[in-house]
Amino acid sequence: MATKKTAPKSYREIESVKAYRRLMQGYYLMATHPKWFGKKTAWITSGGPVEPLYAMGVLPFYPENYGAMCGAGREAVSLCETAEAQGYSRDLCSYARLDIGSSISGKGPLGVLPKPNFLVCGNNICGTVIKWYEIQARKFQVPLFFLDTPFIHKELTDHTIQYVRRQMEEYVAFLEKACRRPFSEKRFLKVSARSVEAVSLWKEILELSRSRPAPFAAFDAFIHMAPIVTLRGTGWAVRYYKKLKKELENRVKNGQGAFAREEIRLIWDNIPIWYDIRNLSQLLARHGAVLVADTYTSAWTLKPLDLANPLESLSRSYASVLLNLGLEHKVANMSELIKQYQADGFIMHSNRSCKTYSLGQYDLKKKVTELTGKPGLIIEADHTDSRSYAPSQVEKQIETFVEMARTR
C-alpha cells in the first residue's frame, strides 16, 4: 500500500518473529489438543517449577500467559464480565477473572480449553493464585499440587530452602502418582540442562539491550518472553532463543536499535498493560524514548540450576523469584537495572490486578530515585481489564515525564 511507503518506520521489526509465531502456534496446538499428541496437561502458575512436568512428558498450560493473550487481543473484558456475573468481584485479579470466565463460557481466543489432568500452583508470584487454583480444582475436580514458598522480606533462610526442597520431593511423588509412572532422574537432568540453557540465552538476550541503541525493547521482550515461560526446559525454547540472540547480536554489531530514535532510555516495572502495548510503544517512540529493560521479563532470568544438585537448586531458584522478594530487594533490582542499562528514568505500572507487584511502588520509586538520581513515574492501569484504564490521562503523564527526564 502506498501509505506504508510515505513515512519511514521508527520501529525495526524483529525477523525472528515469524519463527516465534510458528513456535507458539505449535505450542498452543498441542495445549488445546493434548490427546492428539498423547499428552497429559497441567495448568501451572507462571512461577511454578515446570522442569519436572516436562521431565514427565506433561504439557504445561499457563493461564497467566493465556490471560496476556486475551488482554493483548482485547478479549479479556467480556471474559471477566462472565466471571463477574457469577459473583466474582471486579476488584479481583483480571487474569483470574478472565480464566474463570473462559472456563465458564468456553469462550476466548483458544475456544474451549481442554480440562487439565491436574493443577500445579506456586505462590512465589502472589497469594492470588492459591484461591484461583482452588476454584479451578473444584470446578474441574482434578488434583492440585501446591508449592508453598514463604515470602522473603530480607534473606532466604536455610529452613525455607529445606521446606521448599522437601515439597519438591512431594511434587515429584505427586507427578509419579498423577502420571502413573516413575520419575526419571536422567530425563529430569536433560530437561534441566535445557532450562538452564534457555534461561541463560534469555538473560543474554535481555542484556544485549545494555548497548546503545538497545536492539531489543521491553515491548519486544513482552512478546518474545512467551517461550521462556511456557517452553522452558524444551529444545524448542533453546533453538528459538539462539536464533533470536543471533539476530539481535547482529543488530548490536551494526549499531541498530529497536527504534530509529533513542534519546531517552527507560525501565518498565510491573506486568505490561497488554491491551495498550502498541499505543504506548508508539507514544514513547514519538518522543524518542525507548523502554530498554523491565523488571517483568527479567524475572525469568532465574538463578541458574545446579545440575549436580538439581532439586535443591530448583528450590532455591523458585523460592527467590523477584516477586517473592521484599521491597529492599526490589529497590536493589531496579537500581541495578538503571545502572546496567544506563537508563534515564523508570515507569511503574500500578497494576490493580497485581498487589504483590504494586504494593510498595511509591516507596520503591522514592528510594530508587534517591539512590540513582533518576526520576520515576507511576501510572495506573490493569494488566488486562481495560475498564480500569484512562489512556489519555496516562499518555499525558508519560509525555510530561519523558520531557522532564530529557531535561534532567
Binding site: 457469577q86 459473583g87 476488584d91 492440585l144 508453598d148 521491597l327 504494586s358 504494593l359 511509591y362
Partner: protein, 377 residues
C-alpha cells in the same frame, strides 16, 4: 451493688475500652508490660504475653486517611490503610514493637513499608506457611515460632516454659469465657445487643489480658438468671474478616435481624485457637493452626472453607448468612461465589455487604439489610 447493676457496669466498662483510640490505649497500659502490636490470629498471642508484653491488636481504628496515600495505592483494604495512617501519624509510637504474619499480598507489602519507615524499635515478620495441610509446613512453622521466641527473648529476656504455659492457660480461659458468652447470647438473646457482644470481644484486643479475664468472669457471674425475654429478630450468621465496629451489629438489628454466631476474624473464629495445656506449649501453639481452619489466605484443601462455614451455619440455627467483607480483600472475594452457591443450595439465603471505609456509608446498606431480613421473616 446489685447483681443487675454490676452486669450493666461491666458491659459499660468493656464498651468504653473497646471505644478507646490509640492515645487512650497508650495511657491504660498495665504497669511492667511492654506494648507490642500485631494484626492477625496467626501471631501466637500467648508467646507475646509470656514474653512480658501486652499484645495489642491493630484492627482498623476510625481515622481520616491522608499520610498513607503517599505509600499505598487505592486498591488496598481499609484495615491496611488505616493502620498505616495510624503508624505514620505517630499514633502507634507508644508501641515497643510489631509482629507481622504472612497472610495476604497487601499485608506483605505493608510489612515492608513499615520496615522502611522504621518508627518502631522492633519488628518481626513471622512467616506463616500457606500450605497448612502439610506436615512439612508444620516443621517449617515450628522453626518460625522458635525464631519469634528467640527474637522476643533477645529483646525482653528469657521466656520460661512455665510463663508460656501460664499464658496458654490465660488465653484458654479467655476463650472459654467468650465461648460461654456466645452460648448465653443464644439462650438469652434479649440480654445484650449484638453491638455489646462485639465490643466485649474487641476490648480484649486492646487491654491487659489478666484484667480482661477478670472482667469477662465478672460479666458471666453477674449475668442475670432470668431471661430478658424472647426477641423477634431473624437469626443470622455473620461471615467475614475483621469488623472493627459494633455498629454493624446495630444496623443488622435495626433491620430486624440478629447475629447468632459469626466467623469474624475479630470474633468467634478466634475461639478455634484454644489449645491443649499438656505437653510442649510451643508444639501446641503451632499445631492449632494445622488442626483448625482459620483464614482463606491459607490453603487447607480445596473444600476447607466451604465445609466449615456450612457446618457452623447449620449448627447456629441461622436462617440466612450475611457476608461482610472489606473491599479489596482478595481471599474472601475469591471464595465468595462458591460459598454463596453452596449455602443457598442448602437453603440459606445470603447477602453480601462490602465495606470500604467502615466509618462511612452504613446507612445505605440498611435498606438492603431490611429487604434481606424481610425475605427471611
Amino acid at each position: 451493688m446489685s447483681q443487675k447493676t454490676s452486669f450493666l457496669d461491666l458491659i459499660k466498662e468493656l464498651a468504653k475500652i473497646a471505644d478507646r483510640g490509640w492515645s487512650e490505649v497508650a495511657t491504660h497500659l498495665p504497669p511492667g508490660r511492654i506494648p507490642i502490636g500485631y494484626f492477625c490470629p496467626y501471631v501466637p498471642e500467648e508467646l507475646l504475653q509470656a514474653a512480658g508484653t501486652v499484645p495489642l491488636r491493630l484492627m482498623d481504628m476510625p481515622v481520616k486517611i491522608s499520610h498513607a496515600q503517599a505509600h499505598l495505592p487505592a486498591y488496598c483494604c481499609h484495615l491496611v490503610k488505616s493502620s498505616l495512617e495510624n503508624y505514620l501519624r505517630g499514633d502507634l509510637d507508644f508501641l515497643q514493637g510489631i509482629v507481622f504474619s504472612q497472610s495476604c499480598d497487601t499485608m506483605k507489602g505493608l510489612a515492608d513499608i513499615w520496615t522502611i519507615e522504621g518508627r518502631l524499635p522492633f519488628q518481626f515478620n513471622l512467616m506463616v506457611p500457606t500450605r497448612l495441610n502439610s506436615p512439612l509446613a508444620r516443621d517449617y512453622f515450628r522453626i518460625e515460632v522458635e525464631n519469634l521466641k528467640a527474637a522476643l527473648e533477645k529483646k525482653l529476656g528469657k521466656i520460661s516454659d512455665e510463663s508460656l504455659k501460664e499464658a496458654v492457660r490465660l488465653f484458654n480461659q479467655i476463650r472459654k469465657r467468650l465461648r460461654t458468652l456466645y452460648a448465653r447470647m443464644r439462650l438469652d438473646p434479649g440480654r445484650l445487643p449484638g453491638k455489646g457482644l462485639a465490643q466485649i470481644v474487641q476490648a480484649g484486643y486492646l487491654m491487659d489480658r489478666d484484667q480482661y479475664l477478670q472482667l469477662l468472669t465478672g460479666l458471666l457471674d453477674s449475668w442475670p438468671d432470668q431471661s430478658a425475654g424472647k426477641t423477634p429478630e431473624v437469626p443470622l450468621y455473620l461471615s467475614g474478616n475483621i469488623v472493627h465496629s459494633g455498629d454493624w451489629f446495630s444496623l443488622i438489628e435495626e433491620a430486624g435481624g440478629r447475629i447468632v454466631y459469626d466467623d469474624l476474624c475479630s470474633g468467634a473464629r478466634t475461639l478455634r485457637l484454644t489449645i491443649k495445656e499438656e505437653g510442649d506449649p510451643l508444639d501446641a501453639l503451632v499445631d492449632r493452626y494445622f488442626t483448625n481452619y482459620l483464614c482463606p489466605t491459607k490453603h487447607q484443601g480445596i473444600e476447607a472453607h466451604q465445609e466449615l462455614l456450612l457446618k457452623e451455619v447449620q449448627e447456629s440455627g441461622a436462617k440466612g448468612v450475611i457476608f461482610l467483607f472489606y473491599k479489596y480483600c482478595e481471599s474472601y472475594y475469591f471464595d465468595y461465589p462458591d460459598l454463596k452457591k453452596l449455602l443457598e443450595g442448602k437453603g440459606f439465603p445470603t447477602l453480601l455487604l462490602e465495606i470500604e471505609d467502615p466509618s462511612q456509608a452504613r446507612e445505605q446498606m440498611k435498606i438492603r439489610l431490611q429487604a434481606f431480613v424481610e425475605m427471611l421473616s
